[in-house]
């Protein structure tokens, strides 16, 4: 069983296998399930992700009315063709937003690694799908590669916003997505780890400050930027750029930053954007009274 990114990359290199393959084999060993079962279970998760995106890009609205409809706006904008960045990156952003809008509307999603950060991995996968034309099996493998890096973060740091802030959720999701994009695009296991490191470095310190305690503002747009971050970091790693601080040390730094973050900024709706005048006003409107009864 691999314990960190260095061991994962070393196992992949010495066995001349992809990271997804190492993860699949470990899952088979640990759970005693057959390879077919493990693959078909992941295929089921992939289907849930596809359905969530399909629903989201048609337009949904949350019960609070705070979020919904942004994925649609972005898809229409892409169709017009006058965008400044690129079609793939905007498509990833739109599909990440779509997933999180469905989540906010209490729809069915697949947590990757959490529900609040569930947009990044599928958003980037379905955007690069157009460009790279992967097989169904390669798309399933994408999720195993993402899962392998999430597994490392979960066991060595945290994937909980309440324990580590948004960096632990959307930060982890973006790093996982970046690594998976690199593998799907033909990069090496080491480049996957570099992409994870580059992404997570740029999400360090991100707090979890949901307005009214709802997984909506700013969660949906943090997924948008997490997806954009992952796409750019993947391109950087594929260009041969490396992280001066190794992946495992970045993960460790993220953990320690999370521990020293005050609890007001860890999913308690007590600080950050939740405590802004507008944040408080929205909270009061949604619940009749503010959650913070000071």
């Amino acid at each position: 069983m691999f314990r960190n990114a260095a061991e994962l990359v070393e196992m992949a290199n010495s066995q001349n296998k992809k990271i997804s393959e190492i993860m699949i084999e470990q899952e088979v060993t640990v759970t005693g399930r057959s390879r077919e079962e493990v693959m078909s279970f992941m295929d089921r998760n992939l289907k849930v992700m596809e359905e969530a995106v399909e629903r989201g890009i048609k337009g949904v609205k949350s019960h609070s009315g705070l979020t919904g409809g942004d994925a649609v706006l972005l898809q229409k904008y892409i169709e017009k063709g006058n965008f400044l960045t690129g079609e793939t990156i905007l498509d990833a952003v739109s599909k990440a937003v779509a997933t999180n809008e469905v989540n906010a509307a209490m729809g069915t999603i697949c947590a990757t690694p959490t529900a609040g950060s569930a947009g990044v991995v599928p958003g980037t996968l379905f955007a690069v799908q157009k460009k790279l034309n992967p097989t169904r099996e390669q798309m399933i493998s994408f999720l195993f590669t993402a899962g392998a890096f999430g597994f490392i973060v979960a066991n060595n740091a945290s994937i909980s916003g309440a324990a580590g802030g948004c960096q632990a959720e959307v930060g982890s999701a973006a790093g996982m997505a970046a690594a998976a994009i690199v593998e799907l695009a033909g990069g090496t296991p080491q480049q996957c780890a570099e992409a994870m490191a580059i992404t997570l470095k740029n999400m360090l310190g991100l707090v979890c400050d949901p307005v009214a305690g709802l997984v909506e503002v700013p969660c949906v747009k943090r997924n948008a930027m997490g997806a954009a971050n992952a796409m750019v970091a993947a391109d950087m790693a594929l260009a041969g750029i490396t992280s001066r601080i190794p992946c495992d040390e970045v993960i460790d730094a993220m953990y320690k930053i999370g521990q020293s973050m005050p609890s007001a900024l860890k999913e308690t709706a007590q600080g950050g954007l939740a405590a802004t005048p507008t944040g408080r006003a929205l909270e009061a409107k949604i619940f009749g009274i503010p959650l913070n009864k000071k």
């Binding site: 529900a115 997984v215 007590q270």
Partner: protein, 220 residues
């Protein structure tokens, strides 16, 4: 390692909006239900830390009740769980606690009916994964991810060996095991996580052993 399966990371499939505050909360409720063995008539649910501060926004209350009604994380009935519980006449009480707990996402659930009561403390550690940290006053660590058996027994020599011997006879492998007691020589609890589901016949056999008082199982 806290997380063993890739499906703890890519998964669960669930009703939004929060894996820790919705899916994890539902799982805590469902473990309590499973250990109680039947639908409770009433539930007192204390919420701590982030759970206490944000439960309305995350639907944590709805999700825990969904779990008590035996709904899985991806069951759409979770959204209407409190209404369904009210219709069934289940009395619900939610308490926002101020006490600081070890983990920010902590819930204490006391459920019961005229035949008995059960008290459980669960924490939601991220991505929908939970741990049970206390059961009827016993401290324990139960991930809820594997089939497990809970054995209430007298704190006497040979009690643990007796249980282990029967499991060995049926070729059941123990993944994790813990023993907890309130006081030396009094009541104790064995928590045994195993790799495969256990037949009821084996549970009966365990219950026949000397010093074993009650055996319950949690199915995967």
């Amino acid at each position: 390692m806290k997380f063993r399966s890739v499906f703890d990371i890519i998964g669960p499939v669930m009703i939004g909006p929060s894996s820790s505050h919705t899916a994890g909360a539902a799982r805590i409720g469902r473990v309590a239900r499973s250990l109680f063995g039947r639908e409770p008539k009433w539930a007192n649910i204390s919420l701590y830390g982030s759970f206490a501060k944000t439960y309305k926004g995350h639907g944590t209350d709805v999700a825990i009740v969904g779990g008590l009604l035996d709904f899985d994380t991806d069951d759409v009935r979770i959204i209407k769980a409190i209404e369904i519980a009210n219709e069934k006449g289940m009395k619900l009480r939610f308490i926002e606690e101020d006490a600081v707990t070890d983990h920010p996402n902590t819930a204490r659930i006391i459920i019961g009916d005229h035949n008995g009561e059960l008290e459980l403390v669960g924490i939601s550690i991220g991505g929908g994964k939970i741990e049970v940290t206390e059961l009827n006053g016993f401290e324990l660590k139960l991930s809820g991810n594997h089939p497990a058996i809970l054995v209430v027994h007298n704190d006497r020599f040979g009690a643990i060996a007796g249980v282990a011997n029967i499991l060995a006879k049926y070729e059941i492998n123990i993944g994790h095991m813990e023993v907890s007691r309130k006081e030396q020589g009094k009541l104790a609890l064995m928590t045994i996580e195993v790799d495969q589901n256990i037949d009821d016949k084996i549970l009966d056999e365990l219950e026949q052993l000397p010093n074993i008082l009650k055996v319950t199982k949690i199915v995967d």
